[in-house]
C-alpha cells in the first residue's frame, strides 16, 4: 500500500455519502474519484482504471447492477463492492458469478468504515492473484 497507492471510485448519488467515503479513503491515503451516476462513472472509467469501485444500487439513471455489467463488458480488472441503503436488495446471481464483484454486501449506514477498506483490499488482492 505504501509503495503504490490504491485507487477507488465512489459511485453514489448522495453527496454526503460520497464525501464521507472520499474523506475516509483520502485519510487512508487512497486516490479517490467519484461519480453521482452510473453514466458518469462509465465516462470516468474510460479515462481511468481504479483498483476498486464502491457502488450504490439505487441511482438516478441506470442502477448500480447495470453499471457493474456495463463496466465489466470490457473485461476490466477491477473490484466492485456494493453498498446499498435498500434493505431488500440481494446481489443478482449473474453479478455474483463475476470475478471482481465482492460477495460481501455492505448496507448503509456503514458503521465501521474500516471494514469496507479491508474488504476492498482483500478483493484487490484476490483479483491480482488470478
Amino acid at each position: 500500500m505504501s509503495e503504490s497507492r490504491k485507487s477507488v471510485l465512489i459511485v453514489d448519488d448522495e453527496a454526503s455519502i460520497r464525501q464521507s467515503f472520499t474523506d475516509y479513503f483520502e485519510d487512508r491515503l487512497w486516490r479517490t474519484s467519484w461519480a453521482e451516476s452510473g453514466e458518469q462513472a462509465l465516462e470516468i472509467l474510460e479515462k481511468e482504471s481504479p483498483d476498486a469501485t464502491i457502488v450504490d444500487i439505487r441511482l438516478g439513471g441506470m442502477d448500480g447492477d447495470t453499471f457493474i455489467r456495463e463496466a465489466c463488458r470490457n473485461n476490466c480488472k477491477m473490484v466492485f463492492v456494493i453498498c446499498t441503503g435498500s434493505p431488500e436488495y440481494i446481489i443478482p446471481a449473474d453479478l455474483q458469478k463475476m470475478n471482481g464483484v465482492s460477495h460481501h454486501l455492505f448496507r448503509k449506514p456503514v458503521t465501521d468504515m474500516d471494514e469496507i477498506e479491508k474488504e476492498l483490499l482483500r478483493s484487490i488482492q484476490n483479483i491480482d492473484m488470478d
Binding site: E14, A15, S16, I17, Q19, S20, F21, D23, Y24, E26, D27, L29, R58, G85, S86, P87, E88, R107, K108, P109, V110, T111, D112, M113
Partner: protein
C-alpha cells in the same frame, strides 16, 4: 219339564208312515218318499235343544241376562215382517195367528195363541205353550224371559195398532208356569234405549269388560306411544339446548328461572333443579345488572344485544356477549331467554389481529422508509466516523499533519483543544445516536420480512440453557442490572420433542424476555429476583409451550394489553425502543405460526407464554 199336547194336533196313521218324537216334537216319517213332515208340512231342518241350550248359556254368560234378553227381542222383531206376510193372508187376525202358530210349532217354537185383544184399549195377550225359550231357560236354571217371542209379539202389536208397542212377559215356563204369557201395549220404549239404559247403569258384562279393557289397552298403548314420542321430543330438545356452547337461561315475566341449560350449570355451579323458580339474580348474581334490561326487553318485545360485556371471573378478565330474547307467544310475552356467550378468546384474537395488522403496516411502512432514512443516516454516521478518525483516533495521519503545519498549530495542541472541549465525546454521541436509529430501522424491517428460510428442528431446552448463559454475560453497566444475581429455576419437561424453528430468532425472543424481566426486577429492586423457565408439550394442541415467569413488579391490565404494541415502552426514554416485545411477538406468531401471550397483574410478576407448533 212339562209337555203340552197341542189341542188341534192331528193323528193320521198309515202303514208307510212312522211317527217319531224327536226332542218332544212329533215328526211323521214317510219311508216311501223319505220325507219328514210335521203337521203335513215338510221338515227339512230341526234343532237339538241341547245345542241351543249350550249356545244360549254361553251367550248369557258372555253378555249377561238383560243384555241377552234385549238382543233376543231385537232378533224377534226382525222376523215380524215374515210373520205378518203369513198372518195377513187370512181373513181374521185370529185365523192368521193360528195358521202361523202351526208353522212355528213345526219349527220347534212352541204353540202361540192369541188369548185376548182389546182394540179400544189397544191391549193384547199372547201365550206360548211349550216355548223353546222357556224350556231351555228352565234347563239351564236361569230365567231371563223369552225375548224372541216378546220381540215378535211387540212387533205384531205394532202391525195391529199402528203404534210402537212393547211386550211385557207375565208368565214364565222357566219359572214353572204352564205357558209363557205376554201383554202387548203401545209404548215408546225402544230396544236401543233400553240397551243404552243398561250401559248407563254400569251393569258391565264380561263382554263389556273385555271390550272396555281392550279399548283401555289400546288407549294406554296410544297414550304411551304419544308420551314416548313426547318424551323423546323433549329429550331431543333438551339435548339441543344442553349441547349449546352458550349459557341459555329462560325466565318468566317475573324474572324467575324456568329453563337452565348445562352450560348455565357449568358456569354458575348451580344445578337446573336448584335454579328453577329462583329469581335470576339470586342464582346468577353476575346477571343482576341485566334484570332491568330483561324487563325492558319483555316490555318492548325487543331483542337486546350487549357485546363484549366485561366481567371478572376468578381474577380473570372475561368478555361475554349477552343477548336477551323476549319469548313472544300468541297470547303475548311469556318471559325471556337469556343467552350468554363467552367471547373472551374471540376478543383476544381480535386484539391480536389488530396488533398483527398494526405491525404489518409498520413493516410495510418501514420497508419504504428504510432506504430514505438509511441514505441520510449513512451520510451522517459515515461523516461522523471520518470526523472521529481525524479529530481523535488517528490524529497523526499525513493529511492532518500537513494541515496543522499550514495552520501553524501543533497537532498535539489541536488534540488537547478537542479533548478539552469534549469534541470526541460529541462525535461519539452522534455515532451512538445514529446507530440507534439504524437499529430501529432494522428492527422495524423485521416486521416486513416474512421469514421463508428453512426451519431446522431444535431442542428448545438446550436453546433455553444457551440463552440463559448468554443473558448472564449481558452485564450492562448503563442499565444497572446484573443477571448473575437472579435465580433461575428450570422446570423442563422430560423428553421434549424438537421444534422446527429459526434458532437465532427464537434466541432473540428468549433473550429479549429475559432482559426485560431482569431490567424490571432490577428497577423495582425485587428481593430475591428469580425466573421460572418452564417447558411443556401440549400434545392435544400440537404445540410446545415455553413460559418465562419472573417475580418482578408485574404489569397492570392496561400495560398487559399494550405490551406487544410497537413503540410501546415503560422503560425510561432512550433505554428501550419499544420494539423488543412486538418484534418477539412477530417472530413467534408470524414467522413461526405460534402464539405469544402475557399473564400478569400488578405486584405479582409477569409470565410470558410462547407456543410453537410441533410441526410446520
Amino acid at each position: 219339564m212339562k209337555y203340552m199336547e197341542p189341542e188341534h194336533y192331528g193323528h193320521t196313521m198309515n202303514k208307510k208312515i212312522f211317527r217319531k218324537k224327536i226332542d218332544r216334537v212329533d215328526i211323521k216319517w214317510n219311508v216311501e218318499t223319505g220325507c219328514c213332515t210335521y203337521n203335513d208340512a215338510p221338515v227339512v231342518t230341526m234343532w237339538l235343544l241341547s245345542t241351543y241350550k249350550g249356545l244360549m248359556e254361553s251367550m248369557r254368560q258372555m253378555v249377561g241376562k238383560k243384555r241377552l234378553h234385549l238382543a233376543l227381542q231385537k232378533e224377534g222383531r226382525e222376523s215380524v215382517e215374515d210373520d205378518w206376510r203369513i198372518i195377513a193372508q187370512y181373513e181374521t187376525l185370529d185365523e192368521g195367528v193360528r195358521r202361523h202358530a202351526d208353522l212355528a210349532a213345526l219349527g220347534g217354537w212352541g204353540r202361540n195363541e192369541l188369548v185376548k185383544i182389546d182394540y179400544q184399549k189397544q191391549a193384547i195377550i199372547f201365550r206360548n205353550y211349550n216355548s223353546v225359550e222357556g224350556r231351555y231357560q228352565e234347563d239351564i236354571g236361569g230365567c231371563y224371559g223369552s225375548g224372541l217371542m216378546a220381540g215378535k209379539f211387540a212387533g205384531w202389536g205394532e202391525k195391529i195398532f199402528h203404534v210402537p208397542c212393547w211386550a211385557r212377559q207375565t208368565q214364565y215356563i222357566a219359572h214353572g208356569d204352564v205357558y209363557d204369557e205376554f201383554h202387548v201395549f203401545p209404548s215408546s220404549k225402544t230396544i236401543e234405549a233400553e240397551l243404552d239404559g243398561l250401559l248407563q247403569t254400569d251393569e258391565a258384562t264380561r263382554a263389556d269388560m273385555a271390550v272396555a279393557i281392550k279399548r283401555l289397552n289400546d288407549e294406554i298403548g296410544e297414550r304411551k306411544m304419544a308420551e314416548e314420542e313426547l318424551r323423546r321430543l323433549r329429550n331431543y330438545l333438551s339435548n339441543i339446548i344442553n349441547s349449546m356452547p352458550s349459557v341459555l337461561v329462560g325466565v318468566d315475566l317475573n324474572g324467575k328461572v324456568t329453563q337452565w341449560n348445562k352450560k348455565a350449570e357449568e358456569t354458575t355451579g348451580v344445578t337446573a333443579n336448584a335454579a328453577q323458580g329462583y329469581t335470576l339474580s339470586e342464582v346468577f348474581p353476575r346477571m343482576a345488572p341485566e334484570m332491568e334490561k330483561i324487563s325492558e326487553s319483555i316490555r318492548t318485545k325487543k331483542i337486546s344485544h350487549e357485546r363484549k360485556k366485561l366481567s371478572h371471573l376468578k381474577n380473570e378478565t372475561c368478555y361475554e356477549d349477552v343477548t336477551i330474547y323476549p319469548l313472544i307467544t300468541n297470547s303475548g310475552v311469556e318471559g325471556a331467554v337469556i343467552r350468554i356467550d363467552d367471547v373472551t378468546d374471540k376478543v383476544r384474537m381480535e386484539e391480536l389481529m389488530i396488533q398483527n395488522e398494526k405491525m404489518l403496516s409498520i413493516g410495510g411502512l418501514a420497508a419504504g422508509m428504510a432506504h430514505e432514512i438509511n441514505n441520510p443516516l449513512a451520510g451522517m454516521m459515515q461523516t461522523a466516523s471520518v470526523m472521529a478518525n481525524r479529530l481523535s483516533e488517528n490524529r497523526n495521519i499525513p493529511a492532518n499533519l500537513k494541515a496543522a503545519e499550514e495552520a501553524n498549530i501543533s497537532i498535539e495542541a489541536i488534540g488537547d483543544f478537542m479533548d478539552a472541549r469534549g469534541i470526541p465525546r460529541m462525535i461519539n454521541s452522534i455515532s451512538e445516536s445514529g446507530r440507534r436509529v439504524a437499529d430501529i430501522v432494522d428492527n422495524m424491517l423485521s416486521f416486513a420480512r416474512k421469514s421463508e428460510s428453512i426451519k431446522l428442528s431444535h431442542k428448545l431446552d438446550g436453546l433455553l440453557d444457551k440463552t440463559i448463559e448468554l443473558a448472564a454475560t449481558d452485564y450492562d453497566l448503563k442499565k444497572h442490572y446484573d443477571f448473575k444475581t437472579i435465580t433461575i429455576q428450570k422446570e423442563y419437561e422430560d423428553n421434549l420433542p424438537a421444534v422446527p424453528c429459526e434458532r437465532a430468532k427464537i434466541q432473540q425472543v428468549l433473550l429479549n424476555l429475559l432482559r426485560n424481566g431482569a431490567q424490571a426486577m432490577q428497577e423495582s429492586r425485587t428481593k430475591k429476583p428469580r425466573f421460572i423457565v418452564r417447558t411443556r408439550c401440549e400434545k392435544s394442541r400440537k404445540m410446545l409451550r415455553i413460559e418465562i415467569e419472573d417475580n418482578g413488579p408485574g404489569m397492570d391490565e392496561d400495560i398487559c394489553k399494550r405490551v406487544f404494541e410497537p413503540f410501546f415502552t415503560t422503560k425510561m426514554e432512550g433505554v428501550g425502543s419499544g420494539l423488543g416485545l412486538s418484534l418477539s411477538y412477530f417472530i413467534i406468531v408470524e414467522n413461526h405460526g405460534g402464539e405469544m401471550a402475557v399473564e400478569s397483574s400488578l405486584g405479582f410478576g409477569a409470565k410470558f407464554i410462547i407456543r410453537l407448533p410441533l410441526e410446520v
